[in-house]
Symmetry: C2
């Protein structure tokens, strides 16, 4: 079994030092509890409720910039894999909404969000490459970002390429939901069950410039059961053990297999 | 709004008359409560725990046989659309596990299950055509059957072809689940949200030759929220109103659209 964590942290978009301290404390707590892989929210340090494209562009950093170096240092200090969102310089008009995978201090991969949500279309450039599947010290990890989870095509793609664990930094905007479990959680659960992969979503919590976040972080096992979270609306660190070896076996009955049963002759 | 129902009925595989009476009473109750579309379980009248292929073959009927005529009569008598499973003669070694869509007494379509579950592989021939999208008196309906729901490719296909409501006869085998809501329910919720379609699953309940069924029928609205069920393990009729007009609008924010946002350049 592998211990994994989702850090459901708030942000103060106008106080970078405070945010870094909150993130540090959250990752330290996950490490203290034994986590070997930790996921942070989307745009973990910089926030996402930017006034305009000028602000998102001004917050952008290269993949060897201050934010990613901070993630790498955390990952090195606590001996773990860290998946976290950051705002990446693109060389184009608008920056990327990216996620980095760092392992014991080494940057292994950067993924640029391919499905932008609402206002993000005015702030970011969408990526043009599907999420990579990254060999890490705990297994094969695919970073997705937030709205990507609404496209089962993406989850299928990374699972077919060998992903054992989908790590999704997220910022789920709160709404007047008629159900305490928003459909986003169902997408994580279904995606896990359908592909027999572990899904770890780290969602933002609290308020950011008047926008409230759900705080719906969740960890789903390879059968699609929630094994940690959601703990809506509170600052928390979800920590649980998942069976990454079991994700390698796609058989779900004596005669069924989640990949082989696809009717590739029909779709 | 359109009132729809899922009939969560038990079966006595060895007492056809009793089963027909249970199904009749369940559909009559749905009609009394105002349902315009009613879904029955997979293999609604004949059962599915067959001893062997000889028994499944002996129970098979053509699409104008006794079972489908019974469904047509129910649909005619109660002025509604009925989607129900039956065992269909195939002309091959093994019959099909099929679902029929009948509307006010008329047979509009027959779909043959394309993804067979476990022991079904020894009892049935898989269909070779994806579910049709059927224009009915309540809107565009796509019949899926049970394990089909585990393939988001199928839900995406019928949604792209205009389905407003996915009607899924099901027989979900019970297990020692660590969660009262099995992953199957999440697949229905996620499929509804991802495609902005209504999903109605009618699941079997009770015991059949020693096999216990979940009784996890559920109705999900076009945003993926459960609006009726599940009521695990009890004989029940789920009835609720759904907004089929809303399924025609695939926009989910001022700048997002569940179909247009797919990165068809990448997958």
């Amino acid at each position: 079994m592998t211990r994994v964590a989702a850090c459901q942290v708030p942000i103060d978009i106008d106080d970078a030092e405070k945010t870094r301290r909150l993130v540090f404390e959250s990752v330290a707590e996950a490490a203290r509890l034994g986590a070997r892989l930790v996921v942070l929210p989307e745009l973990a340090l910089c926030g996402s409720i930017f006034a305009d494209a000028t602000e998102s562009t001004s917050r952008a950093e290269p993949a060897d910039g201050t934010s990613v170096r901070f993630f790498a240092e955390l990952s090195d200090a606590f001996d773990l894999v860290l998946v976290a969102g950051f705002c990446e310089v693109s060389g184009l008009d608008l920056p990327y909404n990216s996620a980095v995978v760092v392992d014991h201090g080494r940057v292994l991969a950067v993924y640029r969000k391919t499905h932008l949500w609402d206002f993000e279309n005015e702030l970011f450039t969408p990526g043009d490459v599907l999420p990579p599947v990254v060999e890490t010290s705990v297994g094969a990890v695919a970073p997705l970002i937030c709205y990507d989870l609404a496209f089962p095509e993406v989850l299928r793609s990374v699972a077919l390429r060998g992903a054992q664990l989908i790590a999704s930094p997220a910022n789920w905007p709160d709404s007047d939901s008629p159900d305490v479990r928003p459909p986003e959680v169902s997408k994580a659960m279904a995606g896990a069950a359908i592909n027999r992969v572990v899904v770890v979503v780290a969602d933002r919590v609290g308020e950011e410039r008047g926008r409230r976040w759900v705080g719906g972080s969740v960890i789903c096992d390879h059968e699609g059961y929630r094994v940690a979270g959601p703990e809506f609306g509170v600052e928390t660190v979800l920590v649980t053990d998942v069976d990454l070896d079991a994700t390698l076996d796609k058989a779900i009955s004596g005669r069924n297999h989640v990949f082989a049963d696809r009717r590739t002759d029909l779709y």
